[in-house]
Amino acid sequence: MRSVRKINLLMAMILLLFLSTYGIAGGRTRSSGVGVRLNYWNQFEQPTRIEASTTGESHIAVNGIGGAFYFFSRLYNDWFFEFSAGGVSNVDVISTDAFSEEAQVDAVVPLLLGLRYDFFSSRWSATVNPYLSAGGGAYLWSSNFVQQTGTAEQQLRIETEFKTGYYLGAGLNLALSSRVALNFDVRRHFSETRFNDNSDGFAFAVGVAYMWGKQREFFRIKDIKWIVQDIYPAYYQFYNSYPLALVTIENRIGQAIEVNVVCDITQFSERPRETGYLRIPGGQTKDIPVTAYWNRSLQQVNNRETAIVDLQIHARTGEEVLKQSSTEIVIHSRNAWNGDVDKLGFFLTPEDQTIRQLSRQVDITPDSTAVATFERAKALFGLLQQHNIRYLPDPNIPFYQDDRVQYAVETLDLGHGDCDDLVVLYASLLESVGIHTAFVDVEDPQQELAHLYLMFNTGLTPQQGAKISANSKRYVVRESIPGRPTIWIPVETTLIGESFEVAWQQGAMAFLRQAVLRHGLAERWVRIVDSH
């Protein structure tokens, strides 16, 4: 019973040892190490024997015991180079009396170079790392015989032989810590000698190694794709949710790791933004989108400048490792626009206090409630006329610079603007009273320059078109909501100094000729882009 308990206790201690080293070693071998092994290679297949008698005769035979020193170093990933030098001997001493003795000592000193492949270490989380090995080298065989008979006669014979050979092996490294491992090794040697017909054979070894050098990283940054490197402050709401970059992290070990990416932009971040720890299963790769918290400084940029984006990648699995990466991005001015009409809606400010106050100055008494929207839009156009807003083209801008768009309040203050500015102003006013707007973007192949004007939704059905015009070519029927066609009015906003009727007429004629008759819509050089 007691012995069973002792065995159980021993097994429990061994298990505890395994478990305690689980996290410490992490299954990742260091790049280099040295060790010693105790070998057993019984080439002669003779038993170890100790015999003695009262008559003074004795026979001591110790076979196959030896040792070796070995050194290994990582070549690439899980491949290691190994050098070993050792010796195994068979000693047979026979004493017949006090004066007669003969001893036969056979030994082999293998000097071997080989390769070792740890085939589970990058995929298996355990501290036990099995491997396969192979190599070859020099086997120095020697056979030594000494005989003394009586006090006078002595015989000595020493023979050596140098042979080459090779081995195939397998084993286990049991990592006790990140630097120390137990080693269990078995090799089949292939080397013949004339001293022994059965010199080939299996050698078993147990040893210990001390390791140093870099552990294989448990993760790496495979790639960082910077999705946005030009920041337009007008689109700031878009950037709050749209990723600036995609960080691709590869988990290089067999167990799951957790990664947290922190993004901070000098001067422009409200605070660093973390992704939170995201789990990456063993051996897998994950793309992690990175966003930032932008602060008010973004809205105050008047001239294009650069900023540094710092990424900190925190990865953990028992231990935590930090890597960093930075890049430079361009912050454009608050009025900069890259010409993308899909983004022009970001410049609309229908909720601006000044715009809301202005739009509510309009007091209409429409002929019928159905045309109230149309009448209100007409009145708001007239309001801009009363404020003497004028069209003034932008100065010539080099192709490498951004276009500049004024916010509605800025155009009101300045009293003028180009076609984008006036579209933004009129659209902001309309949107502030709930009238849907859309930009008409014209890139006429027959014209050198593009153009932009506006259309707004009257909410009228096609059947109600006669309430605003008997000529259906003066308006556009659009299904901005599928299955619900409504009447939209095109307005040439650069004719802000003229009457609404003139601006409407020109907008409608432009749409008729370009979008319809010249198939601009079908050929996609006329696009209708909803402002939101």
Partner: protein
């Protein structure tokens, strides 16, 4: 890309220089024309040149037009047609027209911020009384435009007819749609030797006639089936 205003006069010159025209070769009965975006109609007369932005309306009358591509076009009674509808439409333009319809119908994936504080779309002023359309005028106009589209078909302008019928269906939606216009579109595709599109249109006719319970719809469904069988390889 940079935005500058187009000077209207220059624009008009350029536009007019590439526009089509039609001459009224023969006018009989009550025929009117409307210039561009004007609100009022004028009486038509032989010899008048019409621009592509103009419209012709035959009430109790008939008009024969000589187009600048050498073709002659006849428009019968109770028909209305935009001169621009007579412009030559290539197959590529027809294809692009249908593609643009599909693109318009795609959900908007433009990168607008989800957090944008947009205004709720409210159509002010609409009330139950004001929603009732002027049925008589609307139906009359729908009929006239429809006859105009039919005239395009009868005069061999099949691609033009297809686009015109599409526009009419959008402008004058009918509930329920029993596939009448779709069947005309199918026939036009057949005339253009576009079997694939014709089959699609006839199949659409079958789908639409399922919602209708009248003899015309049943007849149309039968016709659709026959044409599909005929066109299938």
């Amino acid at each position: 890309m940079y935005r500058f205003m187009l000077i209207i006069t220059i624009f008009l010159r350029v536009a007019l220089s590439t526009a089509m025209t039609a001459t009224l070769a023969e006018v009989s009965g009550d025929v009117k024309i409307r210039r561009g975006l004007e609100e009022t109609w004028q009486q038509a007369a032989t010899g008048i040149t019409l621009e592509e932005v103009d419209t012709i309306l035959c009430l109790e009358g008939k008009a024969v037009l000589n187009l600048d591509n050498g073709m002659t076009f006849t428009l019968g009674s109770h028909s209305m047609l935009d001169i621009g509808d007579l412009k030559t439409i290539t197959r590529q333009q027809l294809f692009l027209y249908f593609m643009s319809l599909k693109i318009e119908k795609l959900p908007d994936h433009s990168s607008q911020p989800p957090a944008r504080l947009g205004k709720v779309s409210v159509v002010h002023g609409t009330g139950p009384d004001s929603n009732r359309p002027d049925d008589t005028l609307w139906k009359s106009r729908a009929k006239q435009e429809r006859n105009g589209a039919d005239a395009l078909f009868e005069n061999g302008l099949y691609a033009n007819a297809i686009i015109k019928w599409h526009k009419i269906r959008q402008r004058y939606p009918v509930e329920p749609d029993c596939g009448e216009i779709e069947s005309l579109i199918a026939r036009s595709f057949e005339e253009l030797k576009e079997s694939g599109r014709a089959i699609d249109a006839w199949q659409r006719v079958l789908e639409l006639t399922e919602n209708c319970d009248n003899p015309e719809a049943a007849q149309r469904a039968e016709t659709a089936g026959q044409h599909i069988d005929m066109l299938m390889p």
